[in-house]
């Protein structure tokens, strides 16, 4: 399987910039997710890769072949759409046979490959059904089989699970991931759903307003968000802004002081005294205590705060807690209820505080 490389891609619609100076390398056999809010340019990029849109400038290489100007039918790219895009006037078999006929695959061989493709998406025996006779999940699996049966060198998926209900969506994430790994097909997956991206991807590319913001494995993206947008977009994060007051002798930990004189210990890696930073703290790393812990352990961050409000989410309760001028989000299990207005103590380890250049 070839790798895919996007080099300095640009696309505008009128005056609106859809994609700007995008450089992205998708490795051989990798599934890369392009993640971002709607309007971030992810679908535009995907359509450029598929050949359905022409970039204004920049190059697209599949392996070492330049495909920037190749028409879509000559790219050999499998494409899966959000709304399935099955042909309603053809049976499942005919939908799958279409691409094979165009490739002049002999009938018997084509029939075998269609059988294999349908078995792969667990839809054997559905050959003679029409799309309207299938559920949404089944239709999307047929669409996947249709894209895969031509043995494309690249698989593109445009929000393929967004029209399915939550439970099915969860199952299908794993299914798509497994299938992709089994076939080892280089894939680009577009979504706005961060949970989907975290589960599915080898690497995630975060796009924002047409620009590539960060590329990395799900762990890297989650634990070391490159900027405030990424930190806020992936998972829940509370932000605190301040200035580095001091860095300890070993250079391991820094003390960051906010304008309202809170002092927060953070892992220092690369911080310089005097530098302005934004600290990002994930709710799951914050411990909520209802009494002041005695003795307080030196080196941990401990702050008194007041519960502003809580939201019951079923598995946890999500609280907003006021600390100084800041609002931190933290969770408790559902058997521990806190009342709005209640005084609490928040503690979190300095290692869990990541910093983002302000």
């Amino acid at each position: 399987m070839p790798s895919l490389s996007l080099r300095n891609l640009n696309k505008r619609f009128g005056k609106a910039v859809a994609v700007e100076n995008l450089d992205l390398e998708i490795h051989d056999g990798e599934i890369m997710t392009m993640l971002g809010p709607s309007g971030c340019g992810k679908t535009t990029t995907l359509r450029c890769i598929a050949g359905l849109l022409r970039p204004d400038s920049g190059e697209i290489y599949l392996g070492d072949k330049r495909i920037t100007d190749t028409s879509p039918e000559k790219r050999g790219v499998g494409l899966v759409f959000q709304n399935y895009a099955l042909w309603p006037h053809m049976t499942v078999h005919q939908n799958l046979a279409f691409g094979l006929q165009l490739r002049k695959v002999p009938k018997e061989k084509a029939a075998r490959r269609i059988d294999e493709a349908l078995a792969m998406v667990r839809l054997s025996g559905f050959e003679e059904r029409y799309p309207r006779q299938l559920s949404g999940g089944q239709q999307q699996r047929v669409a996947l089989a249709r894209a895969l049966v031509i043995e494309p060198s690249l698989l593109l998926l445009d929000e393929p699970l967004s029209n399915l209900d939550a439970q099915l969506r969860e199952e299908m994430r794993f299914e798509i991931r497994e299938l992709q790994k089994k076939l080892g097909i280089t894939s680009v997956y577009v979504t706005h759903d961060q949970a989907e991206a975290l589960v599915l991807s080898d690497r995630i590319a975060i796009l924002h307003e047409g620009r590539l913001v960060q590329v990395g494995t799900p762990e890297e993206i989650y634990n070391q968000p490159g900027n405030r947008f990424v930190a806020g977009f992936i998972g829940l994060t509370s932000f605190v802004e301040g200035r580095v007051a001091s860095v300890d002798d070993a250079g391991a930990y820094a003390t960051v002081r906010t304008e309202d004189n809170l002092e927060i210990q953070a892992a220092a890696s690369g911080l310089q005294p005097g530098q302005k930073v934004t600290l990002a703290i994930r709710p799951e790393h914050i411990e909520i205590g209802e009494q002041e812990p005695v003795p307080s352990v030196a080196g941990t961050n401990l702050f008194q705060g007041q519960v502003l409000r809580g939201a019951y989410l079923g598995d946890i309760i999500d609280y907003r807690i006021g600390v100084g001028n800041w609002v931190l989000r933290a969770n408790t299990p559902t058997d521990r209820m806190l009342q709005p207005g209640q005084q609490v103590w928040l503690s979190f380890a300095p290692d869990r505080v990541t910093w983002i250049p302000a």
Partner: protein, 276 residues
């Protein structure tokens, strides 16, 4: 409860009968008139009935009675004309509709509006003017002239309907075909056209019926040399109600036939998928 249900049912039946009368009543009158040989006041129904007028109208029997009309010539003119109009209009409106539906073209709204223009003005003045032009061009009173008039009238609907039909085909369905290796033409013929077909067929039927029933334009441009069925109906309705009824029924037959076809075809389940 029993009486209440009985009352509701009664009201339903009465309403249904009234509705049937409303729809089929006038047609029933036509049928009775077309077979009435003798029908004088105060009789509620004809005293003597028979197929004489039908036989004469269809040219099976020659009668020397005043006002006896044979409709076969006009019927043939009407049918040939309507079929030609359908062929030409569909050949024109299909590509035009496709382009209007699928491509970003400047002044799209204006172009669509332009197609509506002939219908935007009162018909008579338009056709009177057209008669002057056509007379100069030697088209007045010719089959070609009438054909052009019918094209003008029908192209309007056809372009609008086929634009809508092509618009209803989601572009993802075409893009999927492209990505699987089909070029533009193949995608059009294998995917887009079949999916737009119900709409295009409806348009064709509509064009056929419009041409078959077209009156004003044919009246000004065609008469007296090109007489379609509606012309014949008009000229006989004044003094020979029996012949007029026969012609009216003959004109009704294709309409009813096509309604049945449309209804059956548009029910075909696969178009249910188009709206995805």
């Amino acid at each position: 409860m029993g009486t209440k249900r009985f009352l509701t049912r009664t009201v339903e039946v009465v309403a249904l009968v009234l509705l049937c009368l409303l729809i089929f009543g006038p047609m029933l009158g036509l049928v009775i008139w077309s077979v009435a040989l003798r029908w004088y006041w105060p009789n509620l129904l004809p005293q003597e009935i028979g197929a004489d007028y039908w036989r004469q109208a269809l040219g099976l029997e020659k009668s020397l009675a005043v006002g006896a009309v044979s409709i076969t010539g006009s019927l043939q003119t009407s049918l040939v004309l309507a079929l030609l109009v359908v062929a030409v209009v569909m050949l024109l409106s299909t590509p035009v509709g496709y382009v209007l539906a699928k491509y970003r073209i400047p002044f799209k709204g204006a172009i669509l509006l332009l197609f509506l223009m002939p219908q935007a003005f009162p018909q008579q003045p338009v056709f009177v003017n057209l008669l002057l032009v056509f007379t100069k061009m030697g088209l007045a009173g010719t089959f070609q002239g009438v054909l052009l008039v019918h094209l003008m009238v029908c192209l309007v609907f056809a372009v609008w309907i086929s634009t809508a039909a092509f618009k209803a085909v989601p572009s993802e369905l075409e893009e999927a075909a492209r990505s699987l290796g089909a070029g533009g033409l193949r995608t059009f013929f294998r995917i887009t056209l079949p999916l737009a077909m119900p709409g295009l067929l409806a348009s064709a039927v509509f064009v056929f019926l419009t041409s078959l029933d077209e009156f004003t334009g044919t009246f000004f441009i065609g008469l007296p040399f090109v007489a379609t069925l509606p012309m014949l109906l008009y000229s006989s309705s004044g003094f020979n109600l029996q012949f007029a009824s026969v012609i009216a029924i003959v004109l009704l037959i294709p309409s009813i036939l096509f309604m049945v076809i449309i209804e059956r075809f548009l029910k075909a389940e696969y178009i249910g998928g188009i709206g995805v």
